[in-house]
Subunit: 209 residues, 2 copies
């Protein structure tokens, strides 16, 4: 099937959202935990968390502008802090439901029965049952002129995960973590490792096998 | 395990890269196809493609700066065009090897035996065997001050995928596509759909089940 942008632009809005949100490939499933200046906790699912650099450890995420209320964005702006929590099999249904339009005075933790946790006096809430939990501080907010979205850039302050999930080379073992992947707007996937390849050096290429 | 940034900063560089590159969750696996102004084709694997918006269809990707030669970045700057091609099981080994430091006058298509294809007179090469192939035009280049990386923003010009992969609601069916997910720097995963949830409306929440 060959679709030009003009073809897709003529589709109805929901169908276009479904296609373009599913076009990039598998996406990470993360819950962003924040606390408002009034002390109300918020939790929202994001599939746009992206690695920016390892020293310092910088992660980005894309948010829509605050032309309608965006609790996550306004809480991060107000406090400067947020948490990133992997979604695992066990919590994916409740995680998806954080995308509903809950009111500002409703905590998604409470209304959806997701257990929260405080760690190290950090001023944003963590998801207790998430296999990987990161404390983040806001570093930079980059407006994207082309469509008004925003790249939020944060620095990793600390991270928690099960001891058994740390492989000898420093990477996280996804078979241990039970984290899920998202495709499109609403599909959740488990994954199985097919291969772990060595660092690729031109002199080691042995041809097609 | 609890690791502060200071703990991780004390690790050796490769171990830190492994951890921080694996910390965000599953990532999409895409091959970026470009052509230099001298006519040399280039192909490079990226795990940082991210959805920015659906109307127009804008996708981002993170690239490191050109303090060392970056063929993908310089070709996109020179020509304004690139392709995004999903990595499937069948081509993941060769796809990973595009990360080796091949010379500017070597085409990864040729040296790694990856079949290329021209489509619709588009001026960047596609990966013939990729299940999803997108033609992109550069819209905006956003420098990230915090670490010198760059967010490249592109607009979807057209896309090709197998007819059977388009679900009735407009989303791509990942069980059909056989696209893979990446974790960290070097692990490739197949995935299985666990659930597709309805659009979440507060009045439809039925509680924990």
């Amino acid at each position: 099937m060959h679709l030009s942008w003009n073809d897709i632009a003529a589709w109805d809005r929901i169908r276009r959202l479904q296609l373009i949100n599913s076009i990039t490939g598998y996406k990470p499933a993360n819950l962003i935990g924040t606390r408002s200046s009034a002390g109300i906790d918020n939790l929202a699912i994001f599939s746009s968390v992206v690695h920016l650099g390892s020293n310092p450890a910088l992660l980005g995420m894309i948010t829509r502008p605050d032309t309608v209320p965006r609790h996550t964005l306004s809480n991060i702006r107000d406090t400067g802090y947020y948490t990133i929590n992997h979604v695992s099999h066990d919590i994916m249904r409740e995680a998806h439901w954080t995308s509903a339009d809950w009111a500002a005075d409703q905590s998604e933790f409470e209304v959806l029965g997701i257990a929260s946790e405080e760690l190290d006096l950090f001023s944003a809430p963590f998801v207790r049952d998430a296999p990987v939990r990161m404390a983040m501080s806001l570093v930079e907010e980059l407006p994207i002129k082309a469509n008004g979205t925003i790249l939020l850039i944060g620095k990793l302050e600390f991270v928690r995960f099960p001891d058994a999930a740390l492989d000898a080379d420093g990477s996280l073992n996804y078979e241990q973590l039970q984290s899920v992947a998202i495709s499109g707007l609403d599909s959740y996937h488990s994954a199985t490792r097919l291969s772990k390849f060595p660092y690729a050096r031109t002199q080691n290429w042995k041809g097609l096998q």
